[in-house]
Symmetry: C2
Subunit: 109 residues, 2 copies
């Protein structure tokens, strides 16, 4: 199993930072269960000013299929309805992306 | 053993991006060996524009002591002599920091 690592960036609306951080201290169990079911592991989000950086590992065999499963999950859809208005996606992100995937410069295990 | 996760950010001088990425495709073995000896694991660097975002895990028992070991390593010092002029540390970083540590908003295993 090759683990695929990924980092992504998005902006958080400055006036929503407190709220964004508060709900991320108690992410809904259904959202966490879907993350796990979709083979995402070791998922962290960090914040610098109004930029959010995420890091996660994908341990499945078909990333696009798993992301489609995630996007079809009703609880996740409710979560995104709540979180997306708090975010402002970056110019230059890939087609179909909300968070912008950024390239790896270096890795060592 | 509690693994401590950490994310850090620094700026790379725009005119040095190509060079910075090139040397990170072939990081010196002595630098990698010191990273491992100092209990840093799963260390990645990503880039968005002129911002570098790093993620690593610390698997030792005394982070400050291990970072002192790293800073005392002659090969690592040579490496930093090469890389630091390519970087521009961010305002607002902590005392004694080069890369700025940024807070975690969310984590799930």
């Amino acid at each position: 199993m090759v683990v695929r690592r990924q980092a992504q960036v998005i902006r958080v609306r400055p006036e929503r930072i407190d709220e964004y951080e508060a709900i991320h201290r108690e992410v809904w169990p259904g959202v966490l269960a879907t993350i796990e079911r979709c083979n995402i592991r070791n998922y962290s989000i960090y914040r610098m000013g109004d930029l959010l950086f995420s890091y996660f590992e994908y341990a499945g065999e078909d990333y696009e299929a798993d992301m489609a499963v995630m996007a079809a999950d009703p609880v996740t859809q409710e979560w995104w309805k709540l979180t997306e208005p708090m975010q402002e996606p970056l110019e230059g992100r890939g087609d179909g992306e909300w968070w912008m995937t950024i390239p790896e410069v270096f890795h060592t295990d």
